[in-house]
């Protein structure tokens, strides 16, 4: 799904050259849920930006879902972003003046879908995150967790090949963070490929693969052993809490 070979990203200021990524190589297969960890300034965000085609790289090869991205022009890169990648940001990045529906609808507008198809996809995506009843709400009328679920719905609406999440629970309290993580795990179970940058070792441990970036390079060891989610009784109870929470919201709405 994602193949990076010897990627380098160098930021050049007047006097300083910073190697944000240095000969970085990573392969992520379809259906994997990869947690990317590392200290601040290690290059996690740069990796995610390069992977999400939001930033260029200076050297190396990058192939996304079989498409080599080198030499693609802006329109081609934009189309790849639109069709193959779903972004989930730490700050949700919802447009405050737009309704939930319009926020989720945004990427579909650039895809050329008919309005009925867009409506179907938006409703389906919001259904998946338990917010179908709040389509007309503004982001400010939702809690942080709900806003992040809207952001997930926006990422899902285009049915992308890969989800890139940049500390998706970083701004949430533990309960809401669990809701979001449960949704991501459910999506992964349904076959979604997910790469998640996180600072939280517990979240990293939950996923089936985690990698660490140090000084712009992939560390060749794993810090966190993946947990067997199914055997974790605590997780079971959290999952039920989440389901109850979502159900309660739907009833309230």
């Amino acid at each position: 799904m994602l193949k990076m070979n010897n990627i380098s990203r160098i930021y050049q200021s007047d006097t300083i050259q910073t190697h944000a990524l240095r000969d970085f190589s990573l392969n992520v297969g379809a259906g994997e849920f990869v947690a990317v960890t590392g200290p601040s300034g290690s290059g996690k965000s740069t990796f995610l930006n390069v992977a999400g085609l939001l930033d260029n790289f200076d050297k190396g090869q990058y192939e996304l879902d079989g498409v080599s991205v080198q030499g693609l022009n802006d329109s081609e890169l934009s189309r790849l972003r639109n069709e193959k990648i779903g972004f989930i940001f730490q700050n949700y990045n919802l447009i405050p003046d737009y309704s939930i529906f319009d926020n989720v609808d945004m990427p579909l507008r650039y895809r050329g879908f008919s309005s009925s198809e867009r409506k179907r996809r938006v409703e389906q995506a919001l259904e998946k995150v338990g917010l179908a009843s709040r389509m007309k709400y503004l982001p400010s009328q939702l809690s942080g967790g709900q806003q992040q679920r809207v952001a997930i719905a926006r990422a899902l609406a285009g049915e992308p090949k890969i989800l890139l999440a940049d500390e998706p629970t970083g701004n949430l309290d533990s309960l809401m963070a669990r809701q979001v993580m449960e949704i991501l795990h459910d999506l992964n179970k349904e076959g979604a490929t997910i790469i998640m940058v996180t600072h939280d070792p517990d979240q990293a441990r939950e996923v089936n693969r985690n990698v660490q970036i140090i000084d712009g390079q992939l560390a060749d060891f794993k810090i966190y052993a993946p947990l067997d989610r199914e055997s974790q009784s605590s997780n079971q109870s959290i999952a039920s809490v989440v389901s109850k929470e979502v159900h309660k919201e739907e009833v309230d709405a």
């Binding site: 930033d55 934009s78 639109n82 990045n93 945004m106 650039y110 895809r111 050329g112 008919s114």
Partner: protein, 432 residues
């Protein structure tokens, strides 16, 4: 289908953007509207001054200037006013299709059937009958008089409105300075802008005349000359001018074929030479034929002050564009996050450019509407300062279209730099 859908989406986004920053867009629209409005108002004046008043045959209508001054101190250039006998020599020629010889006068007019003693101060064109066909004067009722002598007149639409409330007044009699003349024709509303047949002496923006009277009759009745005249002889009244060196008549000819211009020139030059040979004048042979547009340029119809002000208003519009551009730059800067987000979820630079241009075009349309209203307002103000422009301060449909077009261009021009900057934002940086 996809393009239509994106266009409607871009329009929706533009309207939302206007709503979000109402005050800022109001300032931008106002800034551009004032700039475009001022320029449009000036262009309306220049357009009225510089336009061809009779485009279908302006090249074939020639004004005659001659150099027959009998004195040894001649004017520098041939005179645009002629002696009676010189003008009649032109009228005799069979080269032109039509000839008009005339002078401007003025009388007080009253309907003899009216119980009121009120008289209307009326502008008179004392002319040969050829004037009407030559100038394409449009008749509402009746016809032109067909001789240069006779107690018949043609009146203009305005005078007919004032005296006869716009009804058919053919056959009615007017008392003009104590003389009774019968109306044989009434003109439709007739706008000649500029007044090509008499643009000299600051009359280029006057209305067409109230009364058209046969030339010989006006001379016989001694109707005074209300325009420039020159004389090397003393005379007591116009009725004495036929045989004297009194220069006051203007002559226009209409050629059916402009190739006949050289024949006419030779005719005039031969006549001047004969006069000179007979001792009529000591001057070099110097006769000029100007077509309508050449004559308007010669008469300096386009006011240099208005031209200078137009140039100043172009500079003012440039300043308005810079101002609007800087306001838009701040607006686009504030929307950096949204630009970054849209780019991240799949909008290309081209999409964002189209979104920005759609917003600019809508901005241009709103600006255009306000600019057209403002230009009308500015024209009214201009007339307060320059009353002689009252008859040309008109916003023609083509000026309205130009105003809209200018507004669109300025709105797009204002957005170009902000759009260029917005397209250079780094997506990842804007989303942090």
């Amino acid at each position: 289908m996809r393009n239509n859908s994106l266009l409607s989406y871009n329009i929706l986004l533009a309207m939302q953007s206007f709503k979000r920053a109402k005050s800022l867009y109001f300032l931008i629209i106002l800034t551009l509207s004032i700039g475009v409005g001022v320029l449009c108002a000036n262009l309306a004046l220049v357009n009225s001054m510089a336009s061809d008043p009779i485009p279908e045959k302006s090249a074939n209508l020639l004004h005659v200037s001659m150099n027959t001054w009998p004195d040894v101190q001649p004017p520098d250039e041939p005179m645009h006013i002629l002696r009676y006998r010189d003008a009649m020599k032109i009228a005799e020629s069979d080269i032109p299709l039509r000839t008009a010889v005339f002078y401007a006068s003025g009388v007080y007019a009253r309907d003899i059937e009216s119980t009121s003693m009120k008289r209307f101060d009326s502008r008179v064109r004392a002319t040969t009958p050829g004037f009407f066909g030559l100038a394409d004067a449009p008749f509402a009722f009746g016809t032109a008089f067909d001789k240069s002598r006779g107690m018949e007149i043609v009146i203009g639409h305005e005078l007919n409105q004032k005296i006869f409330a716009g009804k058919n007044s053919v056959g009615k009699t007017l008392e003009l300075d104590g003389e009774l003349l019968t109306i044989v024709g009434v003109l439709k509303p007739w706008i000649v802008r500029p007044l090509f047949y008499h643009p000299t002496e600051g009359r280029a923006f006057d209305l067409t005349d109230d009364i058209f009277a046969p030339l010989e009759t006006a001379i016989d009745l001694g109707w005074s000359i209300h325009a420039r005249s020159s004389s090397s002889d003393n005379y007591a009244g116009v009725n004495e001018t036929r045989d004297l060196n009194v220069y006051y008549l203007q002559a226009w000819v209409e050629l059916d074929d402009i190739a006949k211009k050289s024949a006419l020139q030779s005719y005039l030059d031969n006549y001047s030479q004969q006069l000179k040979d007979a001792g009529g004048h000591p001057l070099a042979i110097k006769n000029r034929l100007h077509n309508v547009n050449e004559w308007l340029i010669e008469a300096k119809v386009v006011d240099q002050k208005v031209l200078a002000f137009t140039l100043a208003s172009i500079l003012f519009l440039s300043v308005c564009i810079f101002n609007a551009s800087s306001l838009l730059l701040s607006r686009f800067h504030a929307a950096k996050f949204e630009v970054g987000l849209r780019r991240a979820i799949g909008a290309s630079n081209k999409h964002m450019m189209m979104q920005g241009l759609t917003e600019s075009v809508l901005l241009g349309v709103f600006t255009g509407v306000i600019a057209v209203i403002l230009s009308w307002f500015f024209l009214k103000i201009s007339v307060q300062f320059l009353p002689r422009l009252a008859n040309i301060a008109v916003l023609e449909p083509k000026l309205l279209v130009l105003g809209m077009f200018l507004a669109l261009i300025t709105a797009i021009a204002s957005a170009l730099y902000p759009l260029y900057r917005a397209n250079r934002y780094t997506i990842s940086a804007e989303l942090k």
